[in-house]
């Protein structure tokens, strides 16, 4: 279970309280410090609804994506358990191998949990009740591994059962105590189990009827979730042991592999891998997974909450550059969602159209004032004539808002289909002028008017060179995209498109009657596809233009131009960036910096910033006052360990000077700064090794100056006991933060662990 605490320790988890209470608690967190608290309740409700929807959709999506691979895995387990008890010659002679499924899942380890969860659920449901999943970190030694296996296998069954099996549970625990953990115990248990289930009447046991019907001997499946992390020695021994029991116990393994199947051979010597019968299963790549998630959650008008281009960029780049984890991407989406509803008072309008209309009526004067202040609204007003009226008349403003919200919804309704059309037209062009993935195109469109970009121009030019069959097939897919959209404009567009298509096909028929010159002019784009040399491409384009000009256009060319023109007009009408729409702030979350700060923290940079310019942190602290229940003399800094991401809290004791003159003009160290900051600043001026005594002297001088003692007096810069103690504390804090460490080379020196100076 996760805690919200940074420190390590024991945490008591009481059995979860009533759900309602939970929700209330959550709401309190939400409304606390919430911007524009009047509407916070409504916003909280919308936010929760949306998040639940996201969660449901992603789960459904995950299941759907995994279905193929899970199905084949299930098939494999069934096949293995059914072929086992053949008594023909070959299977007697063959070494009895343990059937093993190597499931290649990719490096996005955080996502695997969900896959394994649904896999074991499915297995339990339709193949065998005996499934145990193992994680490397709980199996450090063979002993632990065996124990986990036995526990999971025996107790899963127990947990399902009724009173009759409760007795069994007792005997089980006794058994386990007396037999320790050996597979013999498991064998005995398994035999008694299968005997029992085959004896019991099928009517009584509904859950195990599948098992009964198919085979008397359901396999025992052991899932190794993260194969790479297992200790090879432990794994080898376990496999060796299992192979001794394979005759009596129908074991089966599933290896979850993050890298590549060849790791099996790296981990297991031939003598061990020869005990396994390995079958490979490849899962969908995580990039494909992301594409579908974006497709379902972001590129859809059914979802009122939107991400701005910048935020989207941050999330996508975290995915591509850092972790490949779809789950983290969705977490990011959740964060944005929460932040949006928390910080944007007008987000009460970010919901379905009808609800939004009601909510407009509920808007208070403060909210209306906020609307008037919205940049997009101001821009809109400038274009309008009668402004004064709107600035004062609330009812009028509400009416206008109704209309604007409606327009925004319409805009979204048209935007996504057209985006898809444009993508399917341009994604097969050579060199992908508008991106290979639809998310790239979406990002371009969010940023600016896409039709003003050079890439768009060249894409249009390339479109004007398509051969007839290509053009027709592309337009047809566009028509399919537009088909299900229920909007007047899209309906119109579809009609026009179909007209164009019909004309093109007619041309086909006409061409068959009299073969025209056009026929032998094969698609130059298709030829281009192969050579994607930029220079050649440009040359080709120029040539095309030349020949175009000189020749009279054929009927096909005229139609083609018409089609491209039509697409162009659609784009210009519907793909304008959201910033141009009034009230877009209601739906779009724009604060990419917040998202980045939360998801991709830079602990080192912030520690260094805190140490070199403490005033900003202390200032902030003062402003917050006791509100956050943080003692005003300490700052909590979260430190991420270099290799293990261990979190620990470090408390600095800050000596706040009364006059608060931490800020110096020239950026040098202020002598009123906290001790650790002074020590830090001084240590930056040193080389690899720091002489502790010199350091202490320098520190003492700075601190003396801060105390306002006379520089000419005798005691100035003298090291007294208090200063000495304070210095030692500062140094040990720096050591704890990983800036210095003791060395064996020179006893009175410490080594610096960071490079670079002031």
């Amino acid at each position: 279970m996760a805690t919200s605490s940074f420190s390590r320790g024991c945490f008591v988890f009481k059995p979860s309280a009533k759900k309602k209470k939970m929700a209330v608690g959550l709401e309190r967190y939400f409304t606390h410090g919430c911007e524009g608290s009047e509407s916070s309740e409504v916003r909280f409700k919308i936010c929760l609804d949306l998040w639940n929807k996201v969660k449901m959709e992603t789960e459904a999506l995950q299941d759907e994506l995994n279905r193929n691979i899970l199905d084949s895995l299930l098939e494999f387990t069934r096949k293995c358990s059914s072929t086992r008890d053949h008594s023909d010659w070959a299977s007697q002679m063959r070494a009895s191998e343990i059937p093993t499924a190597a499931l290649v899942l990719g490096v996005n380890v955080p996502d695997h949990d969900m896959t394994f969860q649904s896999l074991s659920d499915l297995l339990r449901h339709s193949v065998t009740p005996h499934v145990a999943s193992l994680q490397a970190k709980e199996c450090a030694a063979l002993k632990h591994l065996m124990k986990r296996v036995l526990e999971r296998l025996m107790s899963t069954v127990v947990a399902v059962g009724d009173e009759e099996e409760e007795e069994l549970q007792q005997t089980d625990t006794e058994l386990q105590k007396s037999v320790h953990c050996s597979l013999t115990a498991l064998c005995d248990w398994y035999i008694s189990k299968t005997k029992k289930s085959s004896c019991s009447t099928p009517g009584k046991k509904r859950s195990s009827s599948v098992v009964d019907g198919q085979h008397q001997q359901p396999p025992v499946v052991i899932i190794f979730k993260d194969l790479e992390a297992f200790n090879p020695r432990v794994l080898q021994d376990f496999i060796l042991i299992c192979s001794r029991y394979i005759q009596r116990l129908p074991l089966m393994f599933i290896f979850g592999i993050a890298t590549s199947p060849s790791t099996i051979q790296h981990m297991l010597p031939n003598s061990v891998s020869s005990l396994l019968c390995i079958e490979l299963f490849q899962s969908l790549s995580c990039t494909q997974h992301l594409t579908t998630v974006i497709d379902k959650l972001i590129l859809t008008s059914s979802f009122p909450f939107k991400l701005s281009g910048k935020v989207m960029q941050v999330l996508v780049s975290i995915f591509l550059y850092h972790d490949f984890s779809v789950r983290n991407f969705i977490k990011g989406l959740q964060l944005a969602l929460l932040e949006h509803f928390h910080s944007q008072p007008l987000s009460s309008l970010c919901c379905r159209k009808n609800e939004a209309r009601l909510n407009v009526q509920q808007l208070g004067p403060a909210d209306l004032e906020r609307i008037r202040q919205l940049p997009s609204f101001k821009r809109y007003l400038k274009e309008q004539e009668e402004q004064d009226n709107l600035m004062t008349d609330d009812a009028h403003l509400k009416d206008l808002c109704q209309k604007l919200i409606k327009d925004l919804h319409k805009y979204h309704k048209n935007y996504y289909p057209i985006l898809r059309c444009l993508h399917c037209l341009t994604s097969s062009l050579p060199r992908y002028p508008l991106g290979k993935q639809i998310r790239e195109l979406h990002l371009i469109c969010l940023e600016k008017n896409v039709w003003e970009s050079e890439d768009y121009q060249s894409a249009m030019k390339l479109l004007k060179m398509l051969a007839k069959d290509e053009l027709i097939s592309l337009l047809q897919t566009c028509a399919e995209v537009l088909q299900p959209v229920r909007s007047k404009k899209m309906k119109n567009a579809l009609v026009q498109l179909e007209e164009l298509l019909a004309k093109l096909k007619l041309l086909d028929a006409a061409a068959e009657v009299g073969p025209s010159v056009e026929e032998n002019l094969t698609s130059p784009v298709r030829n281009l596809q192969k050579k994607t040399d930029l220079f050649q491409l440009q040359k080709m384009l120029l040539e095309m233009n030349e020949s175009r000009r000189s020749k009279r256009m054929s009927p096909f060319e005229i139609l083609r131009n018409e089609a491209v023109e039509f697409v162009d007009s659609l784009v210009k009408n519907h793909l304008s960036p959201p910033e141009s729409k009034p009230l877009y702030e209601v739906c779009y979350y724009t604060s990419s910096a917040t998202v980045r700060r939360h998801l991709n923290a830079t602990p080192r940079t912030s520690i260094q910033a805190a140490l070199s310019s403490p005033y900003s942190y202390i200032q902030e602290l003062k402003e917050r006052g006791n509100d956050r229940r943080m003692g005003s003399d300490s700052v909590l800094v979260v430190l991420v360990d270099q290799n293990q991401a261990v979190y620990c809290g470090v408390k600095f004791t800050l000596r706040l000077s009364a006059n608060n003159s931490l800020k110096t003009e020239d950026g040098t160290v202020s002598n009123a700064a906290p001790d650790i900051c002074i020590a830090y600043k001084l240590h930056l001026e040193c080389g690899r090794l720091i002489n502790l005594y010199d350091w202490l002297e320098a520190y003492s001088t700075v601190v003396s100056a801060a105390e306002g003692s006379n520089p000419d007096s005798d005691g100035f810069g003298k090291v007294d006991e208090v200063k000495h103690a304070r210095f030692i504390r500062a140094v040990s804090e720096l050591e704890f933060l990983g800036f210095i460490k003791a060395t064996r080379k020179k006893t009175d020196h410490v080594a610096r662990l960071t490079w670079g100076g002031c």
Partner: protein, 494 residues
């Protein structure tokens, strides 16, 4: 070696019934007609084998019918079986306290011992040392099978050796052994990693518990590697030599397919051994391969195209198939299930496990891995030359040291500190990267994925050291995907 064994057997001043020595002598006398070194010699050829056939295993005290059945099952192991039997002596007599049987994998050690124990119905317990994750398990198993569950439950929670000995004595005084009890320890080499006094105690268990019990250790490793440096009771050594080609042929031919003639199967085994004997002498593996490929061998016969006796045609048919099997199923590149399916559907080449090496990584992970590779294979002092824009005077000529002729790739990866990894990383990655937490966590995920290995373990907080654990091919493929020409940055390829 047989010399030393005999010396031990004849060693004086042991308070055990010396029937062992006697029975060896008797054994030798029985085999007067065999070559001069009758006890330990391997039967040389097929001809003499016949004379060793069933019926020769005989010993007073055992049922003759049973002995005949035993010797039927132990073809090609007659010498060892005879010796073992004479060492065991009559059931009620004391046996030598500990026997040590060694030989390569699948040389029939477990087989011989098991056949004896099962078919002669001797009181015994077989324990695999891999399974004994704790000694408690071993003690428990022994007590349970000798004296029943009640005795086993007398053991305290984490029993010591003396607990075991105490309970054993107590139990055996109640039910003393009528016949020798045997404790068979498989994979005995693992006993070396167990508690230091376990092995010595087991070797003289008979003396400790004062009961007619004998411990048989089975191992792939010679006794010399076992002997604790504090010294211990020396067990009797018994070597199981590898099977010769002829013996393999003989053993494998016995499990013929019921619907084909023995000669037919034997000719198949002959062909199979012709292909596989140079690479594999493991009986288990050969039997497995024989089973997997037999259906293919019979195919032309079943289809009526070739006569059973037409060995040449059959050979022509199966040989390429077996060659392919050697590169695939034999190496477990392809599983036996897939192999059989391939046979059925005649589908083309299946990609083996090691063909799948491609790994998809996040962008920065790729660069971290590249940096790790460079740090592992380049000497640290050359970093300046590769990564400093104005490395000034350091020219290629004078910075190549003469004595550094050996390729770093031959020497393997060298450990490097985290600092160096990051420094190289920031020089190779093309954009400015903030030192975020996720960069660091990517390093640790590379470690869990076993693409990097953590070398220094003691000092985790400040200077962890890593090694790069990927091959040049792998890293070249990775760097190609990010348009990074790694060869230019490798000192070995300058």
């Amino acid at each position: 070696m047989h010399q030393s064994a005999e010396n031990e057997t004849c060693a004086p001043a042991k308070s055990y019934p010396r029937k062992v020595v006697f029975s060896i002598c008797a054994h030798i006398q029985q085999r007067e007609m065999s070559p001069p070194e009758p006890v330990f010699v391997t039967p040389a050829g097929g001809g003499s084998e016949q004379s060793w056939m069933a019926g020769l295993l005989e010993h007073p005290g055992y049922d003759e019918e049973r002995l005949r059945r035993v010797s039927e099952q132990l073809s090609c192991r007659e010498v060892q079986a005879g010796l073992l039997l004479s060492l065991m002596g009559q059931p009620q007599q004391y046996c030598y306290p500990s026997l040590f049987i060694y030989g390569h994998r699948a040389s029939g050690k477990s087989h011989v011992v098991n056949v004896f124990m099962k078919d002669l119905e001797l009181p015994h317990v077989t324990v695999s040392c891999v399974e004994c994750v704790s000694v408690a398990l071993l003690f428990e198993k022994v007590l349970r099978s000798f004296f029943g569950c009640d005795a086993a439950s007398l053991l305290p929670r984490s029993p010591s050796l003396s607990d075991f000995v105490r309970i054993y004595r107590q139990q055996s005084s109640q039910s003393p052994a009528k016949q020798t009890r045997y404790i068979v320890m498989e994979k005995a080499e693992l006993l070396r990693d167990a508690d230091v006094n376990l092995l010595p105690a087991l070797l003289r268990l008979q003396e400790l518990v004062k009961d007619n019990v004998s411990v048989i250790l089975l191992s792939e490793i010679v006794w010399d590697k076992f002997r604790p440096n504090t010294g211990c009771f020396e067990p009797l050594l018994l070597h199981f030599p590898d099977y010769s080609k002829g013996e393999l042929q003989q053993i494998l031919s016995t499990d013929r397919h019921p619907s084909y003639s023995a000669e037919f199967y034997s000719s198949y085994i002959n062909i199979l051994l012709g292909v596989f004997y140079p690479v594999c002498r493991d009986l288990r593996e050969l039997r497995h391969l024989a089973a997997l490929n037999f259906s293919k061998f019979c195919e032309p016969v079943a289809a009526g195209k070739v006569k059973e006796m037409d060995t040449h045609k059959l050979w022509k048919n199966i040989e390429p198939h077996l060659k392919k099997a050697m590169q695939t199923v034999y190496l477990r590149e392809v599983s036996s299930l897939q192999w059989e399916q391939m046979e059925e559907h005649e589908s083309g080449a299946l990609r083996g496990l090691s063909a799948h090496t491609h790994v998809e990584l996040p962008y920065y992970s790729k660069f971290l891995l590249i940096a790790a590779y460079l740090a592992s294979y380049n000497p640290a002092r050359t970093d300046k030359r590769f990564f400093l824009k104005h490395h000034g005077k350091i020219r290629k000529t004078n910075f190549l040291k003469k004595n550094e002729k050996t390729s770093n790739h031959l020497l393997g990866p060298k450990p490097f500190p985290l600092d160096r990894l990051l420094a190289v990383f920031y020089s190779v990655v093309d954009s400015r990267v903030a030192p975020t937490a996720s960069i660091f966590s990517q390093i640790s995920s590379l470690v869990t994925l076993q693409l990097l290995t953590l070398v220094s373990h003691d000092d985790q907080l400040d200077t962890p050291k890593y090694k790069c654990a990927v091959s040049l091919d792998f890293i070249s493929a990775i760097s190609r995907t990010v348009n990074f020409d790694i060869v230019k940055y490798l000192y070995d390829f300058l």
